[in-house]
Amino acid sequence: MTATELSLLTRAVLEKKVILWRRYWINTAFGFLGAYLFFAMIFFGGQAVAGAAITDTLDGIIVGFFLFSVAISAYHSTSGQVTREAQWGTLEQLYMSPSGMGTLMAVKTAVNICTSIAGGLVLLAMMLVTTDQTLSIDAVTVVPLVVVTTLSVVGLGFVFAGFALLYKRIENVFQLLQFGLIALIATPVDGREWLKALPLSQGSSMLQEAMTEGVRLWEFPAVELGILVANGLCYLAVGYLTFHLLLRRARKLGVMGHY
């Protein structure tokens, strides 16, 4: 695949996304608004119940919510896009792309992660304004941490996308996993090394340190960074491989384009 073809593919995916955001701007706006209102409900509801005590944990809540919004968006974009394409009847067209399904999925995923982070940052700014809090937002630290952390969720998205190809209507499982993501973000990994193998948890912990304590990327121990990268890449690789196996199984059963 040439650089030109990769560029064309990226532009195709990105242009479609931007067109749909603009054409259905009310839907786009309400997507943000919905996420923001959910946060506001937690914040103001928490204040009403716990009073000033919530301020002690507010930084953690904001960082956790920021990561959750990015993760859920990346996860849905990956797992949901395959389901939707199958539903629309366009999946087989994408499969027949000369770039290959793998490259196309990789490009879509990259675009989705970028847009998810961009959306997450906007939401983060809104949360900080609402709570009058300040966090350390060093792009050189935050962006790589979020990207690598999100890779594990994208891997999970691929697994569910593959199962969706075979078993079709499994949206309810997707919904359940949303709660799982909250639990994974909230899981404390300090002192329990094995928990670092879970998706999101290690990244969440490091992001908390980076944003609340101002730890820079290069100040993290190399081992911790290594675990984070290995975690992200492993989940992504396993997820992608699983997707390919399930895709092949769907082709064998002749159900790839079915829904």
């Binding site: 030109t4 073809e5 064309l8 593919l9 532009r11 195709a12 242009e15 479609k16 067109i19 749909l20 054409r23 259905y24 629309w88 009847g89 366009t90 087989e92 067209q93 994408l94 499969y95 027949m96 792309s97 000369p98 770039s99 290959g100 196309l104 092949r248 082709r251 064998k252 059963l253 002749g254 790839m256 384009g257």
Partner: protein, 398 residues
Amino acid sequence: MTGSTSATEHSKSASDRGEGGRSGEGTDETVVSVRGLTKTYGSGDDHVLAVDGVDFEIDRGTVVGLLGPNGAGKTTAIKAMLGLVVPDEGSVTIEGIETTDAPRAVYRRVAAMLEGARNVYWRLTVRENLRFFARLGGHDPAETDVRERHDRLLEDLDLVEKADVPVNKLSRGMKQKTSLACTLARETSVVFLDEPTLGLDVESSLDLRAELRRLAERESITIVLSSHDMDVVEDVCDRVIVMNDGQVVADDSLEELVDVFRTQTYRVTVDGTLAPERRERLESEFGADGWTTVGDHQRFDATLRRGEDFYAMMDVVRESPCPLVTVTALEPDLEDVFLALTDRESETSTAGNGETEMGVKMESESESESESAFTSDTESVGDDPQAHTPTQTEAADR
């Protein structure tokens, strides 16, 4: 119906002889080659043999119709050719490249419309879809030649005024045309179309057929088109591959296939009523049947074994006091061939009034005017009955 065996034998022997260069070992111009393609769904008692050892080759620039009843294996065959379904056995080569070995290289040369209007994004406009699918195929819509191609497609498919309208606001026919335009948005040498006219109204279907024919002629692209609409296949295709129960039961040009089933069947109408003894003679010597009286006219059909029998039969009619009104040569069309090849008459005979899901069964056409039969009327009978029966085709109206 006895035509099935003879047609298959004919097509096999024709291909063995290399007639039309379509089957057998292939030529330099062979674009698609399918060898022993087999696909089974399920296992055990529930298994379904969808495609059973299918072999054929397609030459460049040919428009091939893959015809068959529901469940014949057309869609599975097309999807297996495209690598969308993994076959159990067999190989598919497109432009000399094995689909299973290098699917991406094949997809550079092939485009397909598999789900009709569902192949495109309904929330994007027609032009945005064209741009998306062109880029997906590695073509930059900013380049002049690609843009011009898109403009031409929009014009040819009568989509110019709708170019900036989201697809979900278009009629079904327009959606289908958008899908076809997107399939052709990038230049490929082979195009697969699965039921391209399914669900379209007559006008849209005719437009689409005309466009397909024009594209094939102008751009010399190879088109493989599956349909169970015989009118579409008859209008658009050079060659027909008939599938039934997963197997190819006939593979030949449209004319050759129809020729196999062409019998010397005539419908004779006389003024008045023939005497009983003359009627008996026509029945015993020429197999006359289907006797009908319409007003002052009497009508019968006769299928003759030899050309000279026609003159003998006419002599018997002329000797009677009843003047000859018309003689019509009843010719088969693709629907008759299809019904014969797929052995549908057994189903139709239990259908009550002789109608099938596809139309009127072959035998009954000699008893009543078929909607789809080509009929030839003549007021006079000359030396060569076939030559003197100008064709009055109803197909143009369908």
